[in-house]
């Protein structure tokens, strides 16, 4: 009988560990078990990618529509090439939309905001944003202002 109680307690202990791992995966790290192929990739070139990192948010009108897959340097133009995975459900984003790097709050993380254009065609897998706006670098703004080049 004592052995049986022990076994039940140990079983519950292991189950609690499994449940804890599940909570950490789903609730804390926001892991979702989506099968692949539910997103399509578009890329954007920025002169300054700022603090963008993989898994950063991509939003449109404040609604998250995708995540950044990778940030690499284009060796020919020396621009930052950012590949974005957009959820397949959002398939009617105008092709002339522009990608803007914004900061959430004063010190928050940076994300990409897609500002919709007016084109009747939509962005599809493999397309590129041809209008982008780089990260606002506060230090550069201040140094421009201090050296009197702000009005250029």
């Amino acid at each position: 009988m004592a052995q049986r109680t022990t076994e039940i307690m140990v079983g519950l202990f292991i189950l609690a560990g499994g449940a804890a791992l599940l909570v950490l995966a789903l609730q804390v790290s926001g892991l979702t078990f989506k099968p692949g192929g539910e997103t399509y990739a578009v890329s954007a070139y920025f002169n300054d990618a700022g603090g963008l990192a993989p898994r950063s948010r991509v939003s449109m009108a404040g609604v998250t529509v995708g995540r950044i897959r990778e940030v690499t340097l284009d060796q020919e133009t020396f621009q930052a090439r950012v590949v974005i995975d957009i959820e397949a459900g959002y398939d009617s984003i105008p092709a002339d939309s522009s990608a803007i790097i914004r900061t959430s709050g004063l010190l928050g993380e940076q994300y990409i905001d897609i500002s919709p254009g007016a084109d009747l065609e939509s962005l599809a897998d493999g397309d590129t944003f041809y209008e982008t706006q780089s990260a606002l670098n506060i230090e550069r703004v201040i140094s421009n202002f201090a050296s009197g080049q702000g009005g250029e």
Partner: protein
């Protein structure tokens, strides 16, 4: 004069040899305990028994500590972050601190104090009362019968305890941060999910706790098995278990952190 210096050097050499010999004995001991896979019908009940004493009975202290550490992190984090108007980042701070560092490390320290010392004292007393020798006389290998289940129980329990510690801590942080200090619940979880990566943070923390579980349990059972079989010997072995385990955990934590998170 020269003799004195030579004596010092000889003393140093003796000390080094003792350390190396002890490491060798510990490795042989580990190999002897883990090499043979026992029959499940014999080994499993022993393992369950040890999982209960090592794991389940450590649950209370781990849960209570996790709750309080999470709540303290929320209080401290709030008072610093609210100076910058970014108290919504509190969830991110609590989750990363717990998953990467405090979860594995504090659980390991508690484990060394709660379960490790008990393991050493138990095995040391078995040795002092010659239970281990009588087992050998009966043809039962004490390494397999006594040591192996305790080692495995430690290896299995530690990651489970660390996971529970982190979850309880994050929940405790939510109690203070969201319910008491009034951080918006959506930004608590949202910032957390945006910054915690499953592989980088959760799995790396889990790897840390696996390593700590291995080291703590190994030290505890080895100190018990290798102790001087007197009451004074058992007491100093128990002390050594706690001291060595804590130092090993903190030192290894630095190394593991440098390897896992060092390259930004």
């Amino acid at each position: 004069m020269i003799d004195g210096v030579v004596d010092r050097i000889a003393g140093l050499g003796r000390g080094a040899l003792a350390v190396v010999a002890s490491l060798g004995r510990a490795s042989m001991f580990l190999w002897g305990a883990l090499a043979g896979v026992p029959r499940p019908s014999v080994g499993l009940p022993l393992l369950v028994r040890q999982l209960y004493t090592v794991g389940v009975l450590s649950l209370a202290i781990v849960v209570v500590s996790g709750l309080f550490i999470g709540m303290v992190l929320a209080l401290q984090g709030y008072s610093i972050l609210s100076d910058f108007g970014s108290e919504s980042a509190i969830g991110q701070m609590i989750a990363l601190t717990l998953l990467r560092e405090l979860g594995p490390v504090v659980t390991a320290l508690l484990f060394a104090g709660r379960a490790g010392s008990a393991l050493t004292a138990e095995i040391g007393l078995m040795k002092a009362t010659e239970q281990l020798s009588s087992m050998e006389m009966m043809g039962v290998d004490p390494l397999r019968r006594v040591i192996a289940p305790r080692l495995w129980a430690g290896f299995i329990s530690m990651p489970v305890l660390a996971l529970i510690f982190s979850v309880v801590g994050i929940w405790g942080g939510m109690l203070v941060g969201v319910q008491w200090l009034g951080v918006f619940e959506g930004s608590y979880w949202g910032n957390m999910q945006a910054s915690v990566a499953f592989l980088d943070d959760v799995v790396n923390g889990l790897v840390k706790s696996l390593v700590f579980g291995f080291v703590c349990t190994w030290i505890a059972v080895y100190q018990g098995y290798d102790c001087v079989p007197t009451s004074a010997g058992i007491s100093s072995a128990t002390t050594r278990t706690v001291v060595y385990s804590s130092l090993a955990v903190l030192g290894l934590d630095f190394v593991l952190t440098a390897v896992m998170f060092g390259s930004f």
